[in-house]
Symmetry: C2
Subunit: 230 residues, 2 copies
DNA sequence: CTCATGGCGATACACTGTATTTCTGGGATA
DNA sequence: TATCCCAGAAATACAGTGTATCGCCATGAG
């Protein structure tokens, strides 16, 4: 029984940390969506048993929280411009782009409070952009309003995107001709305005529509800011 | 072997329809959240085997779609007031109240296009409120912007509500004192504006905050409507 | 060299969504 | 009336899930 006959001892388990676990989970989610993230698969990717993960998280939801916080690092802009409008606009667009890169984020965004370091940093950036331009309550309301708008808008955009992908059709074609259900329903005449919107509306690309709505909301905020700055 | 010895023949299976299935699913979700909705439990509640449901839906997601559309009936206002602002405001508030009644809706709202009859009716109502006040593209943008705001706001409100319930603390107390993590992080001084907001901000109730933000957004829409009505 | 212990893998459990197979009662036909 | 057939329901099956528990073993201490 020479050395060559004996197998090497089993490799000591690779040390783990949350960073590696979260990275593996994010990779999985990027590839196959949130539903592709299972503790077994995450652990498998790290050559570990599923139970190993419970030393680092105590529930799958916590893993999701960590994933969300991790990608918030991509949202945080490098440096803040002086103009509050520009600052909020950039954060909104960066959020959108991050969600487009990690579509699974749409399911999670706004679903739970974001209390991780990166999430808090993003919140800080939003608030800081408006700090001093009004009393803190107004600032909070403004940030929450803008954030509510863009999380809602992004979520809807992703929902539409997925529907389009599922049918392989552009939103327009799908509504107009190929979604037999929608076509039939519109033909009943019970939804005249909707029909008009579908048939007569101009198709605008998602980013432009996002930007336009965002500008409207920012306009609204601007009005409230010029109001008593206290 | 008299009649008495013989058991009655097994009751003929209760006839099913989507309405009953959806009602059962909604009841389950209202009681135990979305995660309490399993095809087995839904079927069980109707004295049927799980596979029976597949005659009426072909996937669990479709069941969710039906549930969402069903509760959209609660959102649709009985009659539309003439004033577009009031009309949109009412829809927004009815949506919020419906989600508060059916918290599971928060997870689903905006997650997929709403193509059911009630969903379309709600969309029609939104569009109809603004019809004629601007070109159809502007009307669509307005409706989408307002809807994005309030779905985002509602989702966040529910997220906070759940977090509060989970800790048994008011949002304020939780952030301020009892969430050791948040307290510790704020103490680092890395998030000065956030700290100011948490410590110096006034606690406003969710409905008021929702209404305020909504008014801001409606103001923004009003401005765009008075623009070239074309 | 022995022992204890902390951490890891294996095992187990209850449950999920869904595909497939098996059964059965009622209607159609002879 | 007796037979066949078949739609549709039920049972079974399967691969997978999150998580609790158990038993082992390598590494450090004594």
């Amino acid at each position: 029984m020479t050395v060559w006959d004996r197998p090497e001892p089993p490799a000591r388990p690779v040390p783990l940390d949350r960073e590696r676990i979260v990275a593996a989970a994010i990779a999985l989610a990027d590839e196959g969506g949130l539903e592709a993230v299972s503790l077994r698969k995450v652990a498998g990717r790290l050559n570990a048993g599923p139970m190993r993960l419970y030393g680092y998280i105590s529930t799958k939801e916590e893993l999701f929280d960590l994933m969300v916080d991790e990608v918030h690092a991509e949202i945080l802009p490098e440096e803040q411009p002086g103009d509050w409008r520009e600052a909020l606009r950039i954060i909104a667009h960066r959020t959108r782009q991050t969600v487009l890169r990690h579509e699974w984020l749409a399911e999670l965004l706004g679903g739970r409070p974001t209390l991780g370091p990166n999430g808090l940093a993003v919140t800080e950036a939003k608030l800081a952009a408006l700090d001093g331009l009004a009393d803190i309550d107004t600032v909070m309301r403004a940030v929450e309003t803008v954030s509510a708008y863009f999380t809602g808008a992004i979520r809807r955009e992703i929902a539409n995107l997925r529907a389009e992908r599922a049918t392989g059709l552009s939103k327009r074609d799908w509504q107009r001709a190929s979604g037999p259900h929608v076509t039939r329903v519109l033909a009943t005449g019970r939804f005249p305005t909707l029909a008009k919107a579908v048939y007569d509306g101009t198709e605008v690309d998602a980013e432009a529509s996002f930007a336009t709505g965002l500008d409207w909301v920012l306009d609204a905020v601007a009005v409230k800011l010029t109001r008593p700055p206290t």
